[in-house]
Symmetry: C2
Subunit: 261 residues, 2 copies
Amino acid sequence: MKVLIVFAHPEKQSFNHSLLQAAVKRLEENGDEVKVSDLYKMKWKPVIDEDDFLNHENGTRLKIAASSASAYTEKQLTADVVAEQEKLAWADTVILQFPLWWFSMPAILKGWVDRVFACGYAYGVGPHDETHYGYRYGEGVMEGKRAFCIVTTGGSADHYSTRGINGSIDDVLFTINHGILFYPGFTVLPPLVTYRTDSRREEVFENAKKAVIERMDNIATLEPIHYRRQNFGDYTIPQMTLKEGLEEPGQTHFDIHIKKD
Amino acid sequence: MKVLIVFAHPEKQSFNHSLLQAAVKRLEENGDEVKVSDLYKMKWKPVIDEDDFLNHENGTRLKIAASSASAYTEKQLTADVVAEQEKLAWADTVILQFPLWWFSMPAILKGWVDRVFACGYAYGVGPHDETHYGYRYGEGVMEGKRAFCIVTTGGSADHYSTRGINGSIDDVLFTINHGILFYPGFTVLPPLVTYRTDSRREEVFENAKKAVIERMDNIATLEPIHYRRQNFGDYTIPQMTLKEGLEEPGQTHFDIHIKKD
């Protein structure tokens, strides 16, 4: 495998960084190739603005999607963004590793997505007609690649259970798994989540490390989340609503977009 | 009213900025006081790191929650963060205004939350015993203040409907409304969402402007979302799971945390 890990934690001595090291070590032992985008270490520019588009004339109106599409097409994206897109092209497996802050990714990782997933590249791609509404949700530039999240939380598994006050972890991560990873075409594996990383550190860490090592061994064979592909009959076009009757009994929210076997 | 608008869009000529101007104008006409944190204009530092904590010794291990709590307690947070906390203390109403990028807030706004909502201030507050699990989800520093989001999207309302492929807008925004606003104690009003802002701009804009003006008139009287408060009997402690039987028929996911009338 060729694995790109996009890593977002500021501290080298952190729980997260230790897990990263365990993952990289195991992959290399297994004979896999690994690249790491350590966003804090790279001092990744987290904010998309007019400096992102080298062909944008300063002072003229910046429309993010249009400017991004134009810069992508004319090869006028910045070198740091192009370098990430080249790593993505190289990889067959992409891991987003981050601590869950305020129920989402740290700003620096969100800024990696905002900037690297350019228009014409990761969104706004392909025809929009009666049979296709763009290449997205199961089609697109990342088709054939696997991706998943490695996440740590302060809260306990109970807090993120079906009845937990934070919402279930599957629902909390849906807009990342489905909205950021499946959208440009990735095959998405279930996230690997470690809860309560702030407490009882050693025990929690040893279990998390075991789980990470096991995951590194199983990336190629693990069953992905069966999100429904957009352009293959399950959705009305252009409303993009799930056709009546396709969901299983009990599926009522985000989960209607997952095919049960 | 004293209204703080936290605004996250890079372009002064944007749809979003025009809505911001309409909101500010209306509030001032109504005799309300308004402050705007225009994050791009302020060149807001979006990334939390060791520079955030003036009492953090460089090179020693940075534990975000612990370092944040220590800096908050010892008044060693940076001036830009303190200034935002002072605006929050001043305001009785807080609006987060942003375009929905990759189903969440732009990185610069996420970074405002990550940095301003310090430990000991917006989370990690209060006793954790048999009757209370911290002051959060309905209690906390923002108690008595109202807050809501003004959001624009590229996708259509259908795409964000109950059966829409993006997930319903209520579910997409839950981790912001409930996880970021209700968590530190805000009373949360329904979001004001404008769809398809990239297309048919004038018609969409005129309707959005009307809706914003109407909203500015109704902030004080609008019915909030009835999220269940954490420490008032609905949840087990410390599991923080909703007690059996409290949800209404049909409530199965994030919505179990909303009381129906």
